[in-house]
């Protein structure tokens, strides 16, 4: 009851001077609006980064084959032929922390439909698990190819939106046949649009087919055309393995020449893949999954404890963490600036409250004369400044929210409403009111009623 009366008294006192109350609270309004807008834009951009990261697949890491070198010439990462589809199967079978995995075979060649052609930036040979690993389910239309298609190296493919646009000009590509290096592929499905990834490359400029098809029907050989770096870095004559899969040979099981058999005393890998994409069960099991995969691959590749690994694992979450920590840093920096403006607003409140106390000295004296205790006066002035700050805070929340919506509308920045920021803004503005209102209120409550009544 008492606090209600005090609040009413404080509100009435504020209403006596609405213009000044408005100007006083402007500092808080601007401060809180800045904080809210910063928080919303910050969380928006950081969740946009998260989203663009998750288009690359959630909790995903990549396994690349090790470096191949011949005659002292290194071909760089991924040039080795150490990864096989069987490795992928073994990972799926034996690593409990792994949710799914797919081998990837790359190709880069022209795709033709009718009188139009295009070279997709990515032409991947994968298993159906790819769609799960990259979180690309469901398809926009059609159905994905099956494991049977992979086994039989069937000539089917899925197209990304960019490729569909370039080749089909708005028609549905389902059931149509396209030619890839003179091999006809039937389009069975269209992938949903994913947009650009973090590096800015178009993820929809893609053709996906069973890896067996890409490997044996399109590239025909493992090294020379699939791996650009090795083929450009070294002449194919240097690489004895380049004859493993003679170009253009459609057979699933290439014959091994006797010379080759004689040159290779080891087990001959019938197929190698360019990369294996592995998805862990969840975010926290990535490290466990990497450990399990490393151990498994070392065993499978018969590496001794001292031997260097013949494969590389690249963890995408590191990139994700780096990017989100960068955006977080920027947000915090801007938040600091916004907090400073909130502080300045608080000083403004203190200033005006001090003026108000001086101006209303007689009123304070009168209130004391009719029986207000020092604590009543303290509370009244404190409530006044807290009310100012809270009103300023609420207006600031609305302004900041509206501002970030405008930014979203006109600049197309990603924005996300953040309830935490709103709560923080209310708490901060109330405590700014408390802290900066306390000194003037305390000063008012210390006044001697006799002096105050006589004050001119």
């Amino acid at each position: 009851m008492k606090s209600y009366r005090t609040t009413v008294t404080a509100l009435k006192a504020l209403r006596r001077n609405p213009m000044r109350a408005l100007l006083t609270t402007l500092g808080i309004v601007i401060g809180v609006a800045a904080v809210i807008a910063m928080m919303e834009i910050g969380t928006g951009s950081s969740s946009a980064v998260q989203k663009s990261l998750s288009t690359m697949g959630t909790n995903v890491f990549l396994i690349f084959p090790g470096t191949a070198a011949s005659g002292g010439v290194s071909f760089g990462v991924g040039s080795g032929t150490t990864l096989t589809p069987e490795d992928c199967d073994a990972i799926l079978r034996e690593c409990p922390a792994v949710r799914n995995a797919t081998p990837v075979v790359r190709a880069r060649t022209q795709v033709v439909y009718g009188n139009r052609n295009w070279v997709p930036s990515q032409m991947l040979g994968v298993t159906p698990a790819f769609l799960d690993v990259r979180s690309w389910e469901p398809l926009e239309e059609g159905v994905p190819f099956s494991d049977r298609d992979v086994q039989n190296a069937n000539k089917v493919c899925l197209l990304g939106k960019t490729l569909v646009r370039e080749l089909f000009e708005g028609q549905s590509p389902l059931g149509k046949e396209i030619r890839v290096k003179n091999v006809t592929f039937r389009v069975v499905g269209v992938l949903k649009a994913k947009g650009a990834n973090m590096m800015g490359s178009d993820q929809d400029d893609i053709l996906i087919a069973p890896w067996t098809t890409i490997k044996y029907r399109v590239t025909g050989s493992s090294m020379s055309s699939t791996n650009q770096s090795s083929s450009s870095g070294a002449s194919s004559s240097v690489n004895t393995l380049s004859n493993l899969y003679p170009s253009g040979q459609p057979s699933l099981y290439p014959e091994i020449s006797s010379v080759q058999a004689a040159n290779s005393p080891m087990h001959i890998r019938f197929s190698n893949v360019d990369q294996i994409i592995v998805a862990a069960q969840n975010g926290s099991s990535i490290d466990a999954a990497i450990k399990q995969v490393t151990q498994l691959l070392r065993e499978r590749h018969k590496l001794g404890p001292q031997d260097p690994e013949d494969f590389n694992i690249r963890n995408m979450t590191e990139l994700a963490n780096m990017l989100s920590s960068t955006t977080k840093l920027m947000t915090n920096l801007l938040l600091c600036v916004a907090m400073i403006s909130l502080l300045v607003g608080g000083v403004g409140i203190m200033n005006i409250m001090l003026v108000s106390v001086t101006e209303r000295t007689r009123e304070i004296g009168l209130r004391m004369a009719v029986g207000a205790r020092a604590s009543d006066i303290l509370r009244q002035f404190l409530v006044e400044s807290v009310v100012l700050c809270l009103v300023g805070g609420s207006v600031g929340i609305l302004l900041g929210h509206g501002g970030s919506r405008l930014v979203e509308m006109f600049l197309r920045w990603p924005v996300e409403t953040s309830p935490a920021a709103i709560i923080a803004a209310v708490v901060v503005s109330a405590s700014v009111g408390m802290i900066f209102g306390f000194y003037p209120a305390w000063k008012a409550s210390r006044l001697d009623p006799i002096e105050a009544l006589r004050y001119e």
């Binding site: 009851m1 001077n17 004296g365 004369a369 009719v370 029986g371 020092a374 604590s375 009543d376 009544l453």
Partner: protein, 264 residues
């Protein structure tokens, strides 16, 4: 039982190294239902005595019994409570809250007391009080829209809202013209006669003082003429120029009423 009883009240201000004695042993007694004028020139200690009587200040030494309670040793919060319940104040410059309706001005002291009253009851009580001072048609006017006399009547209503037994009026007519002064003073006498309200008028104007039943004169920190009869004060008013320098001897025989009114 007297409403106010003061015994040997001393008040000394400490201004740096120097001690300035303002009240030098004041003793007085006021019965319930009296209308007393407290007179004195400026610098006589009149305001200090008024502040101590009004529980705004505490004496350096001496006893002060208000309504049967020793109040000279109370803390400032206790004194605030006492002011709220037992005392009403009317000031020379009205001291109304600006840009606040008469009704809200009158209801203001209820903020610090009367917790049992709802907002509506509080407003009702304030409205009744305004009716009593004849301002029921001006309830929602702000002080700037009221004449001086009306403002002072609002102040009186505010002083009376907690139904105190004692009302202090500090130069209540100082800012009013003679006609409205008369109105306000008549209101005081009426309140005194009809409601038995004890009123202390602090003034230097003999015309005001003549409305009182008794005049207490203070000079140089001591009470010089605790007089009683209005008739005698009338006769003083005729020569108001020398009223301030009145000696105790000139109104002998009228000190009987203030039996305890003492000379040091």
């Amino acid at each position: 039982m007297p409403l106010i009883q003061m015994r040997d009240i001393f008040k000394t201000y400490h201004l740096g190294e120097v001690d300035v004695p303002v009240l030098k042993g004041v003793s007085l007694q006021i019965e319930p239902g009296e209308l007393v004028a407290l007179m004195g020139v400026s610098g006589s200690g009149k305001s200090t005595l008024m502040n101590i009587l009004g529980c705004l200040d505490h004496p350096s030494s001496g006893e002060y019994w208000l309504d049967g309670q020793e109040v000279s040793g109370l803390s400032s919060d206790q004194r605030a409570n006492l002011r709220n319940r037992k005392l009403g104040f009317v000031f020379q410059n009205f001291n109304l809250l600006p840009r606040t309706s008469a009704l809200d001005n009158v209801a203001m002291p209820l903020t610090y007391s009367a917790q049992h009253l709802s907002e509506r009851q509080a407003r009702q009580r304030a409205a009744d009080m305004l009716k009593r001072v004849g301002l029921d048609d001006r309830m929602h006017h702000e002080p700037s829209q009221l004449s001086g006399g009306q403002q002072q009547r609002v102040a009186i209503a505010r002083a009376l809202i907690n139904s105190p037994p004692l009302l202090f009026a500090d130069e209540p007519t100082g800012n009013l013209d003679s006609r409205t002064s008369q109105e306000v003073l008549e209101m005081f006498t009426q309140l005194n006669r009809q409601d038995g309200l004890t009123i202390i008028l602090v003034t230097h104007d003999p015309h005001v003082a003549q409305h009182a039943q008794r005049i207490i004169r203070i000079h140089d920190g001591v009470i010089v003429a605790p007089g009683s009869a209005p008739a005698s004060s009338l006769s003083f008013s005729g020569r108001s120029q020398i009223a301030a320098s009145e000696t105790p001897g000139s109104n002998q025989g009228q000190t009987d009423h203030a039996a305890s009114g003492g000379q040091p």
